[in-house]
Symmetry: C2
Subunit: 226 residues, 2 copies
DNA sequence: TGCGCAATTGCCCCAAGGGGCAATAATTGG
DNA sequence: CCAATTATTGCCCCTTGGGGCAATTGCGCA
């Protein structure tokens, strides 16, 4: 751990505001039309969101690949469907792998088929240009809410997975059986080991996963795919 | 219980086939165009689904109101959006109350806006006329799968709710606390009652909800909103 | 080859869970 | 007012769960 030699200056007003925007939500806007891009960004900025703009989906994906330690707050992607290299649907699938940001697709005067495809592909909403400001903001708000929900969910999953990973095979096995409702003596018999041993592993497992009791363990086992 | 005096005849071939179709899935088709209605019904029949047709959404809703003990197998509704009295979106909301059948909306050459609205309103898919047979069948299959999933979920919920309903207030209260991981002595102290009493209620609660042990109770409590 | 970790086990002790038996209140629908 | 239901409690007994202490094995890794 090398501490940066310089810079322990006070936090600037700009940084303060930026932080607040990030907490409110980040919106990634992708459109090959610079004007639209600017207009959308302006609107979103005005609403207090942190806004990033890209001229093509590819550009964004590249940035995503480098910048892996992704954004910690809620975020969503607002993207035009008819892109040259990579269309919205393609982006959706790639996005699912890299980030779990909800996708809002938009398009100028397109048919119902396109919209339906977008939804089938997992887009959260489909906005038709010219986009009404209110409609956009509602959609964005919903997308960010979805993002928050996903992150919460994933966060819990990940946390539990981490804890469970610290268990030894034996401990995991016994924890599973306990969560299934088996008693210590029963487990001991099934595994052909001493009761005392089962107790030991059970105890260790409980403290390793941070369960305060058996009830807790059951929930952790269920939620954490033990 | 009055047993029907007559009819204990063998099951006919027609009934046999009908039963099979029902098990495969029921599709309710609603469209004001009789030709389309017939065509869709023919296709669905051919695929082995049990198919009902209605000329308007209102008609179907009326039938639904009378025929409350609804269909037991998977089912979905395939409905045209531009109806005179009741449009697809309206139907969606009413449908949610009465039945939990997934809704597939269809429309002739409409815009992306309509499709987007349909999805926002909770439609499972949006099909554009003329409808491709494969597309239709895929959508129907997906809808029926969704229906099955919902029914399974609701079924379990309902079953647990029934069991929980048999608990007395005291038993429910204590069951809740047990599910939270509190020990009998702790509960006894908090409620200001004797340990023996807590044990008794706990025991009763366990057998009433059909839990084989504490682990089971925790799951039942979580899934059944105890 | 010695150390650290994981798995095991025996002994002992105490707290908590599960239940049988019997009895007392309190509430409530007939 | 009687009977059924629900709530309570005391006593006693046995099984489980939770842990301290100490000792023994194997097994990779430095």
């Amino acid at each position: 751990m090398t501490t940066p030699t310089a810079s322990r200056r006070p936090i600037t007003v700009q940084e303060q505001e930026f932080a607040e925007r990030c907490a409110r939500g980040r919106v990634v806007v992708i459109d090959d039309d610079a004007e639209i891009l600017a207009a959308l960004a302006a609107l979103l900025d005005l609403e207090g969101y942190a806004c990033e703009t890209y001229g093509s989906a590819l550009t964004y994906l590249q940035v995503l690949n480098y910048n892996r330690p992704y954004f910690s707050g809620p975020s969503c992607v607002l993207c035009d469907v008819k892109m040259p290299e990579l269309d919205g649907l393609e982006l959706q699938s790639r996005l699912t792998e890299l980030d779990d940001a909800p996708l809002l697709l938009m398009s100028g005067a397109s048919g119902a088929q396109e919209a339906a495809s977008a939804f089938r592909a997992g887009a959260l909403d489909f906005l038709v240009k010219p986009i009404d400001a209110d409609t956009l903001l509602i959609a964005v708000a919903k997308a960010l809410a979805t993002s928050t929900a996903r992150q919460t969910q994933r966060g819990r999953q990940a946390e539990l997975a981490l804890r469970i990973a610290t268990l030894t095979d034996r401990e995991r096995d016994i924890a599973r059986r306990v969560a299934q409702g088996q008693t210590n003596p029963a487990i001991a018999e099934q595994l052909g080991i001493a009761l005392r041993t089962v107790k030991l592993h059970r105890q260790r497992a409980l403290e390793k996963v941070g369960a305060s009791g058996t009830a807790d363990l059951v929930r952790i086992a269920d939620e954490g795919n033990l």
